[in-house]
Amino acid sequence: MGGYIKEVSWGVPNMSTKAKVSPTKTQELAYEFKVKDAMTAEIISVSPKNTMDDVRKLLQNERISGLPVLDRGKLVGIISIDNFIDCIMSGRIDEIVENNMTTKVESLYSDEPLIHAISKFDKLGYGRFPVLEHETGKLVGVITKGDIIKCLLQKLEINYHMEEIQRYRASHIFEDIKSDKTTLTLNYKIKGGDYKHAGEQSGYLKVNLLRLGISPPVARRVIVASCEAEMNIIIFSKGGEISARVEEDRIRVNAIDNGPGIEDIKKAMQPGFSTAPDWVREMGFGAGMGLPNIENCADEMKIDSKPGEGTNLEFSVFMER
């Protein structure tokens, strides 16, 4: 029984059958998850006064191999497949559960880490454990090895999916292209007044930067600043463009619009200063944090703006070395 568990690799480092994920990841997950995350909360149980024939029907109909025995809500025993076989072999199928159950029940608490459950399965070789709530001792679920496998596989599948996204990277183009200086430019058109889609283009930029293999912290700073710049174009101008250049040592972003221009750049840089109309504020923008936010995220920033003509905001975030 214990061997079955080991086949799926719980993360014992020197095991011969290795799952595709690194063993430590499974182990990590088994520590991260609690028993209650994997258990089945819908409990199928019998009472001590039921007959063993009732048990047979339940085992067959529900396709399970054991049952907790509950007396007025309290866990008093467990019927395992072994108990059931013993009972058939000695012709006691019409007897009541009480006389055939195991009364010394090994259980788990719902808030224990999953790794405790795994080692208990390994040690005792049982097929299932009742799960009790720590504070009240109330039966809240049942856990089987199958439940544990399902829970971990689900989590691994999510992780795997995310890794796939990360793997689909275009970073190799920088290595493949032989030139003294390679720059990739990503342009995004921003419609003025289109507040409904505010942040959408920066979202695309984010996905693309990550695909290019830009480190997440660097991408994050670029995106926060670019979101603010996008917002400014939407709120204040008739439209413009965000262009992001991936250079060897930095991401350089230009947010250019033909809008009204900034009257007083120094004033606009003050946190809290805003000329945004009320409807913009109601949407959660225009709090006067835009330019200060950009400045905080960027390693370099400059604004070129003339009232009546337009604004060119340029900022750079340096690649981490």
């Binding site: 991260e32 998850f33 995350d37 989590k155 999510i158 507040y195 409904k196 889609h197 505010a198 942040g199 959408e200 920066s202 979202g203 984010k206 997440p216 994050r220 995106i223 926060v224 979101c227 603010e228 917002m231 949407m283 959660g284 923008f285 709090a287 944090m289 835009g290 200060p292 936010n293 905080n296």
Partner: protein, 121 residues
């Protein structure tokens, strides 16, 4: 704290993402100003509590890698907002209580704020 505990504590309803309620959040931020969201949320695994249910809330939250948003004061997002969240694999929940109470109850149960999380290192 797992999202399903957040739902339990706030008696919230899941709008989308019911398959990933085991997602863990390490800290929370209660905020209606999107610029503040951009400025103050610096780590993944942050829960955002907000009254803003428009599509920008999703775009902005996504920009800072937020996995779960809790809409307070009984506000329901429109279909478009929900569709955007689904596309991004985000969890959306709605609670009836106001912002202050929602934040307070989570804080009381040990979910720290962004600045405290940073100080903890």
């Amino acid at each position: 704290m797992r999202i399903k505990e957040v739902i339990e504590i706030l008696k919230g309803k899941v709008i989308c993402g019911k398959d990933s309620l085991n997602t863990e959040v390490k800290m929370a931020c209660g905020c209606d100003l999107m610029s503040h969201v951009l400025a103050f949320i610096k780590h993944d695994n942050t829960l955002l509590l907000t009254g803003l249910t428009t599509s920008q809330a999703i775009y902005i939250a996504d920009a800072v890698n937020i996995k779960a948003i809790c809409f307070v004061r009984g506000k329901q997002p429109v279909e478009e907002t929900i569709a955007l969240a689904k596309e991004r694999g985000m969890i959306l929940i709605a609670v009836d209580i106001p912002m202050y109470e929602a934040c307070g109850r989570l804080y009381q149960r040990g979910l720290v704020g962004c600045s405290e999380y940073e100080h903890k290192g």
